[in-house]
């Protein structure tokens, strides 16, 4: 019987033997695969819709940062991949995109969205799916406590801190009677609420608040509402019609007397400042998250970042001077990718089972020094608020160039808050 088996193996024993041999052959390979398997990051991208100009540059910045990360050995020795998912800058599609990236593409975590209405709509879905959601969104919705434990903003300062930091400079240097023009949704409302508050704290006054629907295409009709005694006109506009907004403002005031103008570069991101019709902005001031035009005192890290993304000294693509970047914002994508790297390495990331450990690792961040990981400058992370605080820049448009005139300190932007995400559950 035994002999027979050896000489004439049955089909069953052959199968069993084959299976054993196969297992023996693949087992070490599998073990090895798990350690060098790529880390997959989902990027929620405004490739189309009203955020498309930002989307184009956010994608370019993400790919540049990815190249730097991978060339330096990836994250904990593992290569990194980014999967881009277009959300059409639309809240509903944003939530669907989070779902798709998490469930179908099976990414490890998601980052990248900017527009506040998209972030506010998508963040609850990320929390339900228990996937880290790192936003580059500026709005005050993360730090306000409105979102959840899974949503973090380690790459860019929120609007409340930005305007708190700059209000003293505006009231001391430009004027105390301010009229605000802002888009009529969450992001604009953050500006309205916190800048008004910050100006009042400086002894100034916001004399008019003009809200403009985000889909508006013509603006002249709003300008008569600007009170005559306005000393400073504060504008922050986004979307496809921003150029029209600035042109019509120029036509409205023309060569006549006009207030000082303080704008957020958001109004002119991806727009060539030398565009005809924008001459009237000459001499006006801008907030910039990072100076679009290369300043004489730029750090080594900043020039490294500028070269890596492929941006010239004027803030345009090196291959096409007409393709102007969103330089004042897109550093947040770069810095968020490096924050992900830091967080993953801190929690010895193995796979999706470590998602909670990753959030806890980011919550252990505090000082974030300047360097190639943070070309915009040093920052401080507040774990309770899930929010980072950095320097802000004020530039003046002189001879068609944006020249830095003021840099706020990290302390300037700190505001009191009793929000504590650490006390909320996962």
């Amino acid at each position: 019987m035994n002999r027979e088996t050896i000489l004439h193996p049955t089909r069953r024993s052959l199968l069993a033997g084959g299976a054993a041999a196969l297992t023996a052959a693949t087992l070490p390979r599998f073990v090895q695969a798990q350690s060098s398997e790529p880390i997959r990051l989902g990027f929620q991208l405004h490739r189309t819709g009203i955020g498309a100009a930002y989307g184009r540059w956010y994608e370019r910045t993400a790919l540049a940062a990815l190249k730097v990360v991978n060339e330096a050995g990836g994250i904990a020795g593992r290569p990194v991949e980014i999967l881009f998912e277009d959300d059409a800058t639309d809240p509903r599609r944003g939530a669907e995109g989070v779902e798709k990236l998490a469930s179908q593409a099976k990414v490890d975590m998601i980052f990248g969205p900017l527009f506040s209405h998209v972030v506010i709509a998508a963040a609850p879905r990320a929390a339900e799916l228990k996937i880290p959601y790192l936003v580059c969104s500026e709005g005050y919705h993360v730090a306000s406590g409105k979102l959840n434990r899974w949503t973090l903003q380690p790459g860019i300062t929120d609007v409340r801190a930005q305007v708190t930091a700059m209000a003293p400079w505006v009231t001391q240097n430009l004027g105390k009677k301010v009229t605000m023009i802002f888009p009529d949704y969450a992001f604009g409302h953050d500006h309205r609420d916190f800048f008004t508050e910050a100006v009042a704290a400086q002894g100034g006054e916001v004399v008019a608040q003009i809200a403009i629907p985000p889909t508006e295409t013509s603006f002249t009709r709003y300008f008569p509402r600007i009170p005559r005694d306005t000393e400073v006109l504060y504008h922050v506009m986004v979307g496809p019609a921003v150029l029209t907004f600035v042109k019509e403002l120029g036509e409205f005031y023309g060569s006549g007397a006009k207030p000082e103008i303080f704008g957020f570069i958001d109004s002119l991101e991806a727009v060539d400042i030398a565009n005809p019709g924008l001459q009237f902005l000459e001499g006006s001031h801008f907030w910039e998250g990072q100076c679009r035009m290369l300043q004489p005192d730029a750090s080594e890290a900043e020039t490294f970042y500028r070269d890596a993304v492929g941006v010239d000294a004027n803030g345009a693509a090196i291959e096409d001077p007409k393709n102007v970047s969103c330089y004042g914002h897109m550093f947040s994508v770069w810095e968020t990718l490096f924050a992900i790297k830091q967080g993953m390495e801190a929690c010895s990331w193995r796979g999706p089972q470590d998602r909670q450990a990753f959030v806890e690792a980011v919550e252990a961040f505090t000082e974030m020094p300047a360097g190639r990981e943070r070309p915009q400058g040093a920052k401080v992370f507040n774990p309770k608020l899930h929010q980072v605080f950095g320097h802000q820049f004020i530039s003046k448009l002189e001879g068609g160039k944006l020249v830095k005139v003021h840099e706020t300190s990290l302390e300037d932007g700190i505001y009191p808050s009793d929000v504590d995400y650490l006390a909320t559950s996962f």
Partner: protein
Amino acid sequence: MDFGPFLLLAVMEGLVGAAVLALTASGLSLVFGVLRVVNVAHGEFFMLGAVAAWFVSQWVPGPPALAFAVALVACPLLVAGLAALADRLVLKRLAYEPEATIIATIGLLYILQQAALTLYGPEARPVPPPFEARLQLPWFGWSGYKLFVIGAAGAVLAGLWLLLARSRIGLVMRATQIDRETATAFGIDVDRVYAGTFALGAALAAIAAVLIVPIQQAHYLMGGDPLLLSFIVVVIGGLGSLRGTLVAALLIGVSDGVISTFFEPTLAKILATLLVALVLVFRPQGLFGARA
């Protein structure tokens, strides 16, 4: 700002809106009047006109005025050609069934929109105005180009009226509108009239877009608002009535300008929509429409 100049600005802004709206809505109204087709893709023909104007501004060298003149002729022709093609390939095969054509034009809307997204991209791009001029009034400044838009739209509408009321083409179109079968019996090539009218309607939207694009920038999603407002105008004015369309466009355009200047743009939209509801309840044929 004082009340007088404030009102002046509001009316001037309203007139620009009304001028462009009158052109777009008359195209929609014409198509409905003659073909009995509710063209949901009308706003996309508007968008195509603007996008085509951007391409022309990139390809035609020389001063912006030259590129603008080329765009004003070439873009409507291009859009009209596309519309005639859509008529032959789609609407005719559906025998102009009202329900089927609504669905078909919805499909056309998405095809055109996505084609623009693919070929033109998601950015809003500025088109230089043919001339840079500012009108400096004692209280405020205004774009001289906007005055030109009002004038040009008026001229095109006058031309349209002449075409419909005084030319043989207009006679044939009106005959087809009133009684299609009798028109066929009199030897009118109804198919050609239909294709021609659909093309003319689209061309009017394209002209409106070429005029407005130096103010608004070309964007692949820009067709939504003109479509909605055109429907409002056409319903208030009476479907198929050109005179009604013009009066309603002036009413909606100027009131939109005034209300959104003094109050909120949202309020202007609410009131316009309310007016549509009232018209539908109390005068379903519209202000100037014939009783069905």
